[in-house]
Amino acid sequence: MTSSPTSRGIVRDALGIGIASGAYALSFGAIATTAGLSVVQTVALSVLMFTGASQFALVGVIGGGGSVWAGAATAMLLATRNAFYGVRLSSLLGVRGLWRVATAHFVIDETTAMAIARDIVPESSFAFWATGIAVFTLWNLGTLIGALATHALPNPKVLGFDAAPPAAFLALLAPRLRAREPMAIAILAAVVAMVFLPFVPAGIPLLIVAALVVLFGLFHLPAPRGGEWH
């Protein structure tokens, strides 16, 4: 039974996260429009994809001259972590059947973090949905406003938002660099991407990096117990 003070605390946290997402979405709307997407396309991305890092990656690749397909592949590769959030949440939220179809759309960093911070299932579920609804509403609203405001400008590039995705990615990346291995991988990935950049179409260096990560994981890391890898 969720007590009232706990509910209020969860709602307050969810709203805080929602407001932060909304502010972030303003910049996404601006960046996507500057990269060349229409307002409708930008809002559709926020509604249908609804995962921030992937959305920024997609518009970042397009804005940098890559094809939408390279951007789509990068976005999906970044979204693999959401699959693992789902694994963690499936037992925590206790969703079954058709309800999973609706729940899946809201499996993102923020909702997962809020859900797993709770000890009991009713609270986890409440935290997940409170955060999910708050973020979905404010993220999309922010995207719409950011896109419309930028679209209204005669020359959006004057705002400099075409240079913004790297700074946004830096804020996403920095918390993940707390150990030597991630830091080494980040530096290596950056170097590999730049090495390939003059020789392959735009966006392809990212997919090369992803392929190398997968190969590294398959062949370099210790075999699982009982495994027969070489």
């Binding site: 805080g16 693999t80 973090a113 700074a167 993940r176 950049l197």
Partner: protein
């Protein structure tokens, strides 16, 4: 053409989310997969930062974007004010601070079985108040 790409990407991301919720847990609990997947965002974000900052078409260049990134890096390191701030934060942003503090604590103790640190994305541009994470 662009629409097709956007819809495909959105469908792909949605299916990944659904897969986690729906597939039998054993399918995704392979140790190698669990140790590889957290590396993907790290590598991809780093590669994105590098290629978007230092490229002009097919050439590597050093221009004002690198300087902008440097300023952003300093801001991230100092966890201080961001590059662009809108007018003074209204008082009702106090909940944002406590929400982020709460989230950082829960991120500290929260351990997903796959060891992925879960952090909240925070705004860098157009932010209305510095938000501390971690």
């Amino acid at each position: 053409m662009v629409w097709a790409g956007l819809l495909l990407a959105s469908a792909g991301c949605y299916l990944l989310k659904l897969a986690g919720l729906s597939l039998p847990q054993q399918w995704l609990q392979n140790a190698r997969i669990q140790r590889t997947v957290p590396l993907l965002p790290v590598a991809l974000l780093a590669a994105l930062i590098a290629t978007l900052t230092f490229s002009a078409g097919h050439r590597l260049v050093l221009d004002v974007r690198a300087a902008a990134l440097g300023v952003g890096a300093i801001a991230v390191l100092l966890r201080g004010p961001f590059l662009v701030s809108m007018s003074a934060a209204p008082p009702n942003f106090a909940p944002t601070e406590s929400a982020s503090e709460r989230l950082s604590r829960s991120c500290g103790i929260a351990h997903a079985p796959f060891g992925i640190p879960i952090e909240t994305e925070r705004p860098t541009w157009l932010s209305v108040q510095p938000i501390r994470v971690g």
